[in-house]
């Protein structure tokens, strides 16, 4: 397949996953906001601070110093065109990529993406989103789910599909690693017994942000334990939201892309992914948690970025 097409598919998938992640994290924040009023004392703005950090957004200070900082922040994350990673920008970049390679897409893929774009760009819809963001954020989640569903059930699982998988799972792994990194750091400070209800809510929010709350609750009832969350999100083999699952899926996609290649041996991106997976699989959670988690998670995040870089190097002969 054309290198340019492969590259566009890979990034299209990443942008859409990113839009969905941002939407979900924002939605969780709005809900947390409502819940926290009932909890009593505690640092209430925690989740807003961590949201910007998780999304690695350098929010212009003018937005944060406004009289309604949360409204300004959500505006920045949802709509702003000058924010390349706002939801609308991500969807519009994904659509831009799709347009560039339209003939290589299934018509239904293009149509869904295009519908989503027009829906989110609609002025009336956006106005309503400012009052009740849930509909808007839900539309983004549904849009991506529908898009990925079309890919899975209508398209050939050919090389192009594999690049979509690669993009989606790498992006998801990277975001999940970042969420864990930031939240673990912030929330382990809440060790005072008085803060327990707050910590519980916050940890539930972390799980919700990773679309894993219900799956987690099914396994562990009762109060949410930080180690349990880390274990679930990092190493749970059968959860499509866990880092390990994402890395395995990305590795499978790469293997399939390389299948008919005349090049011998493991490709560079495969080697990095294999290392990461081995760390999760063989080192075990206990050992990972004995060292500062931040160091481990940083290493993993760096490797994710490295995979993305070498994938482009390998498949785009420019």
């Amino acid at each position: 397949m054309l290198s340019r097409v492969a590259d566009a598919l890979f990034w299209m998938s990443r942008y859409l996953e990113r839009a969905e992640q941002t939407a979900r994290l924002l939605d969780v924040c709005f809900h947390l906001e409502l819940d926290l009023h009932g909890v009593g004392a505690g640092p209430h703005e925690l989740h807003w601070t961590s949201l910007a950090a998780t999304l690695r957004q350098r929010v212009p200070s003018a937005h944060l110093e406004s009289s309604t900082p949360q409204a300004a922040l959500s505006e920045w994350l949802m709509f702003r065109a000058d924010n390349a990673d706002s939801i609308l920008s991500c969807v519009s970049r994904a659509r831009g990529n799709a347009r560039n390679i339209r003939s290589a897409l299934h018509p239904a893929q293009w149509r869904e993406l295009n519908k989503l774009y027009w829906q989110l760009s609609d002025a009336e819809f956006r106005e309503r989103a400012r009052e009740s963001p849930h509909d808007f954020l839900h539309a983004v989640e549904c849009g991506n789910c529908l898009f990925q569903g079309i890919c899975d059930s209508l398209c050939n699982h050919d090389e192009g599909w594999q690049f979509l998988q690669l993009g989606k799972f790498l992006e998801r792994a990277a975001t999940t690693l970042r969420i864990l990194d930031i939240q673990y750091h912030l929330l382990t400070d809440l060790s005072n017994p008085l803060d327990l209800p707050l910590a519980n809510l916050e940890w539930a929010a972390v799980l919700r942000g990773c679309q894993s709350y219900d799956a987690y609750q099914r396994l562990h009832g009762g109060r949410i334990e930080p180690e349990g969350v880390v274990g679930f999100l990092l190493a749970r083999g059968d959860s499509p939201r866990s880092v390990r699952f994402c890395l395995e899926a990305a590795e499978r996609a790469l293997k399939s892309i390389e299948e008919n290649s005349t090049r011998r041996g493991l490709s560079h991106p495969e080697r990095i992914l294999g290392l990461m997976r081995a760390d999760l699989e063989y080192r075990g959670l206990d050992e990972i948690l004995t060292a500062p988690l931040h160091v481990f998670l940083t290493l993993m995040q760096d490797r994710c970025a490295e995979v993305s870089r070498v994938v482009q190097e390998r498949y785009s002969l420019q």
Binding site: L2, R99, S103
Partner: protein, 490 residues
């Protein structure tokens, strides 16, 4: 789901109420309330639809166009505005008898134009015999002297031709112009049918409409036919300038329907006098390029050096016969408006036949008595720049101001080769949905002709309609729309 209840048959709710016939030939009506025989079934169907119902369905079709991204982008100051190209839901119908004549005429015309191009780029007998003035060729902006003497696969220059036909007051079909470079519009012909079938299925009842779906396969046959010898399963690609091109939708549509790769110039590379595309597994050889890029931008080494759209070295590979191009290079001299008046002579010269489809009467400023006729009748004539298309660089006499006529008068005198003039023809009108009812709007007709092993015309066409009342300019860039066009079976 689709019901037409009779209670909608209120006299005041008729889509046709207030439909008036002008002086132009009307496609549907031979007289007030009297549809032509081939329109009767459609007329009855339309009468059963209330304007509200019609409006609702029209909105469905517009939405579907938007969601499928069927349209073009207009660029003004960097910011692209995406527009759909509106389809008017009332189809245009061509009866079998009329189509037969159109088909024969188009085949004859393309046959002659291909012979003409081969002659022009080789022996130039037609110039030696003074049927066409050599100056017209050498001064033509689209003549490619770089391509003299080059052989092209199977001697075919124009593989895809879109010929614009109009009808005069008597309903006679006339050729307005040929598009022999990179004609577009065929995707709308195909897509309009899909949408109309979905949104107005009952209209098709009792009408025996010939299918157009075969076009992409027929085009692919043509492209494979010209592949370099010995390439058994040739790799065919469509070369597009990319998303900024107004016909980008069409490029993606055709590539998808033919199942071939859409490439941009940056995807291709010339190596060892072969063309390759850059893939995830390295370079892969390309055999045939359906190019939708103008000659000028095709190869910066041969044509415009500042163009980044093309492929350096492509023309050389083409000359060596290691890649095929459709259309070939230099076909623009055949659809040059300065050559257009001579096409009937060209047909006679090569085929010893009279043209089946006549031209529109044309005056050439290069001829002394034509020039004075043009200058005295600017208010009645249409003056066209020979090297422009898309409805640009035109003076429509009856709708012009004195200042515009003054300007064109000076330009025509200064550059007589660059202009032609034609009487203002009242293009035929067709019922078109405007503001809740049907009104007559002017239309033209662009069928698409393919030339491979034989010349074929897919039974269908693009009908373009000028949406503003009284307007004679049907181009999409000038506020035009399109219609599905039905060719009826025998």
């Amino acid at each position: 789901m689709l019901e037409f209840s009779t209670d909608r048959l209120l006299p005041n709710a008729d889509l046709f109420s207030g439909y008036t016939l002008g002086t132009a030939y009307d496609e549907m009506f031979e007289a007030t309330d009297r549809p032509r025989p081939h329109y009767r079934a459609l007329y009855r169907r339309l009468q059963l639809l209330s304007p509200d119902e019609f409006r609702r369905r029209k909105a469905m079709s517009d939405l579907s166009m938007l969601q499928n991204g069927v349209g073009f982008t207009v660029y003004r100051q960097e910011e692209g505005i995406e527009r759909i190209w509106p389809m008017d839901p009332v189809p245009r119908i061509i009866p079998a008898g009329e189509w037969r004549q159109i088909e024969r005429g188009l085949i004859q015309r393309l046959l002659a134009l291909n012979l003409f191009l081969k002659d022009i780029y080789h022996d130039q007998l037609i110039l030696r015999d003074r049927v066409v003035d050599p100056r017209l060729i050498y001064e033509g902006a689209f003549f490619r002297r770089e391509f003299m003497g080059a052989t092209v696969p199977r001697d075919i220059y124009i593989h895809v031709c879109g010929t614009d036909l109009i009808r005069d007051l008597d309903g006679r079909y006339l050729v307005l112009e040929d598009n022999a470079r990179t004609p577009s519009g065929v995707s709308y012909m195909l897509h309009n049918r899909q949408v109309l079938k979905r949104v107005f299925p009952p209209l098709f009842e009792q009408c025996d409409v010939r299918g157009t779906d075969d076009y992409p396969a027929a085009l692919l046959d043509v492209l494979k036919y010209i592949a370099p010898p010995g390439r058994l399963d040739p790799t065919v690609v469509l070369l597009s300038p990319g998303i900024y091109n107004s016909a980008y939708f069409e490029h993606t549509f055709l590539a998808q329907r033919m199942g071939i790769e859409l490439v941009e110039g940056r995807d291709l590379v010339v190596d060892g006098n072969r063309v390759h595309m850059r893939t995830t597994r390295g370079l892969e050889r390309v055999d045939v390029i359906y190019r939708r890029i103008d000659d000028d931008f095709l190869d910066p080494l041969t044509f415009r050096a500042d163009s980044a759209l093309g492929v350096p070295g492509l023309v050389n590979v083409y000359r060596a016969g290691q890649v095929a191009l459709a259309n070939s290079i230099g076909t623009g001299i055949a659809d040059d408006k300065g050559i257009y008046p001579f096409v009937p002579d060209i047909i006679r010269y090569y085929l010893k036949q009279d043209a089946i489809l006549p031209n529109v009467e044309t005056f050439r400023p290069l001829v002394a008595n034509h020039l004075s006729h043009i200058l005295h009748n600017l208010d009645k004539l249409v003056v066209k720049t020979v090297n422009e298309s898309g409805g640009y660089g035109m003076l429509i006499g009856p709708a012009s101001t004195a200042a515009q006529r003054e300007e064109f008068s000076a330009r025509v005198r200064a550059h007589p080769r660059d202009y032609i003039a034609q009487p203002t023809i009242q293009l035929s009108t067709h019922p078109t949905f405007v503001d809740g009812s049907l009104e007559g709007r002017h239309v033209d007709l662009r069928p698409f002709v393919l030339c491979g092993e034989k010349i074929t015309v897919v039974p269908g066409a693009l009908t373009r309609v000028a949406l503003p009342r009284g307007s004679l300019v049907v181009n999409s860039s000038q506020g035009g729309g399109s219609k599905d066009t039905w060719v009826l079976a025998e």
